[in-house]
Amino acid sequence: MTKTPAAKLTLGPVLFNWAPDKWRDFYLRIADEAPVDTVCVGEVVCSKRMSLFEPVLAGVIERLQAAGKEVVLSTLALIMDEKEMNAVRALAAAADFLVEANDIAAAALLDGRPHAIGPFVNVYNEGTLGYLERRGAVRVALPVELDAASIAALAGSADAELEVQAFGRLPLALSARCYHARAHGLHKDACQYVCGDDADGMELRTLDGDAFLAVNGTQTLSYTYGNLVGELAALRTMGVRRFRLSPQDIDMVAVARVFGDVLEGRQTPPAALEALGVLAGGKPFANGFHHGTVGAQLVAASGSAE
């Protein structure tokens, strides 16, 4: 086995509208038990949700830091008015934290000091990556749509630490319109926070009954869980050292342990895939984007045995 530098795990921000108690308890357990190096907190999808977990946010951050986790503040992915802009400005001013910009506006606010770029900013090539690095980006979570060849090319030129989502539903689209509200016959302004009913996203089926997408308020995700456990070795060879686990409403501590075990050679990818299948409750996995094909597909890993 060739020697590769240590890899790190990031727990992405909770994308769903979880009740404040559930949200807090999730992060407290992560703090105590999950073998992740970094934890992202903050509302990315809908500004209307921000005030919901605000009362428990400081306590969560404190516990994560006390447990030795690096805490990253994630910002809104779609900023449409001055109120949302001000919320992002407040986060960007948090000098003690690494802030993850999910809109170019946030990256502009963080200009000149070390910051992270989130997966909602379009970094498709070396030109854009290099530009953002010169403005202070030290970590860049790549868009989920990128294939292995693009990731390899980016890794070959990167000064910043590149991060690739390795687990969780794939964020596919954002909108001004709330599809959760629309599905319930409600308007976004009077949404009754119906997105809170679907802790893992609202599953959308085709008219032929095939599971297709997952709706999370204004966000649309894949129905499948993205899973690159079989591609970790190849990604590390390219020079990617950091992998993102995007929280689902399942045992994410156990998921993090599986990924940690694979990264440290204690478990093989096939065994890990099986274990993750059980943890995901039978949800299908996908890695097609990585293999340059239909994103929903699960391509059998080749040559990834360690």
Binding site: L78, M80, D81, Y131, E145, A173, R177, G288
Partner: protein, 331 residues
């Protein structure tokens, strides 16, 4: 931001005949792309060769219209050449502006062709003042095409706080997702607007006749089933009909077309400069009819009059129209 007195009509030119039709119908500007993956309408049979762009520029300029070249996909890592060449050729062939989405390409255009006017594509998803000021400050962008996520009120507030012109879509196909940040198409087909310049590509569309009607599939997924009396539409992913809690519904958007022809005065008051008509994939007849109608409406708005009654329903997608995100009730 000063109020513009006349709104500028920016019209689609998918082919040289469409360009001439748009100019003849009164377009102030046309926008078009090269015949490759550098633009977001990379469809078979569309777009311009270098020679055709040269001829198109000559024709447009003769009639006082400008030509904007869309180079609005995201260069593939390791292969920036087609995009750089497109920018170089736009400058060499006399295009009046390039419409860019990628930060790396904006930097390349600024450094290599500083006198070539730069617009920011809707695909860059600059939906707020901070983002727009960034593209202006860093890359000298002079105009921003706004994502279709803002209300007229939000557009007015935005125009008060940015130093650049704005251009908004007023007619045609309606993206309901934030443009440039949507991977739905590649999730199903492997090809997206950002990577290949296509959305829900025809190569992946299949129609099947079944007992329950005409089934419309994109890749492996059924996007609609049209029963008796329903005209089968094109399966653009976000216009599909799905099973929502046990009943069939257009969850994301009904098969409707954007039409803001009745809102031109409001958009003018909101400080908008350019009005964009979608439809580079549409034919000459569409271009002629829509541009003619909007020419009359823009001229009427400039005189402070209401838009003349125009029936554009026949050319609207799905035969129905919406004002989209411009009205807050849409959200």
């Amino acid at each position: 931001m000063t109020r513009t007195r006349t709104l500028e009509l920016v019209c689609p030119a998918g082919t040289p005949p469409a360009l001439r039709a748009a100019v003849d119908a009164g377009a102030d500007a046309v926008y078009l792309g090269f015949r490759d993956e550098t633009n977001a309408r990379n469809f078979p049979g569309l777009n311009f060769s270098r020679d055709e762009l040269g001829d198109g520029v000559a024709y447009a300029h003769e009639y006082g219209a400008r030509v904007f070249l869309a180079i609005n996909t995201f260069p593939r890592a390791g292969h920036p050449e087609p995009w750089r060449r497109a920018i170089d050729d736009a400058a060499a062939l006399g295009a009046d502006a390039v419409i860019l989405a990628d930060i790396g390409m904006a930097e390349y255009a600024r450094d290599t062709h500083p006198r070539l006017r730069r617009h920011l594509s809707v695909q860059a998803s600059a939906s707020n003042a901070e983002a727009i000021r960034f593209y202006h400050r860093e890359f000298g962008v002079k105009r921003v095409v706004l994502p279709r996520v803002l209300t007229v009120g939000e557009i007015a507030a935005l125009n008060e706080s940015i130093p650049v012109e704005t251009e908004v879509f007023v007619f045609g196909g309606l993206c309901v997702m934030a443009e440039g940040r949507c991977a739905l198409s590649s999730y199903v087909t492997g090809q997206s607007p950002n990577t290949h310049g296509v959305c829900s590509p025809a190569s992946h569309v299949r129609y099947e006749e079944r007992d329950d009607g005409t089934v419309c599939r994109l890749g492996d997924y059924t996007l609609n089933v049209f029963g008796e009396g329903e005209a089968p539409g094109y399966p653009t992913l976000c216009k599909g009909r799905f099973d929502v809690g046990g009943h069939a519904a257009y969850l994301f958007e009904d098969p409707v077309s954007l039409n803001a022809i009745d809102m031109l005065a409001e958009l003018m008051d909101a400080g908008v400069t350019g009005l964009k008509i979608e439809g580079r994939q549409r034919g000459r007849a569409y271009v002629s009819q829509v541009v003619t109608a909007f020419r009359r409406a823009v001229d009427a708005a400039a005189r402070g009059e209401a838009a003349p009654a125009e029936d554009l329903l026949a050319v609207a997608e799905g035969g129905r129209q919406t004002a989209g995100a411009y009205r807050s009730r849409w959200k």
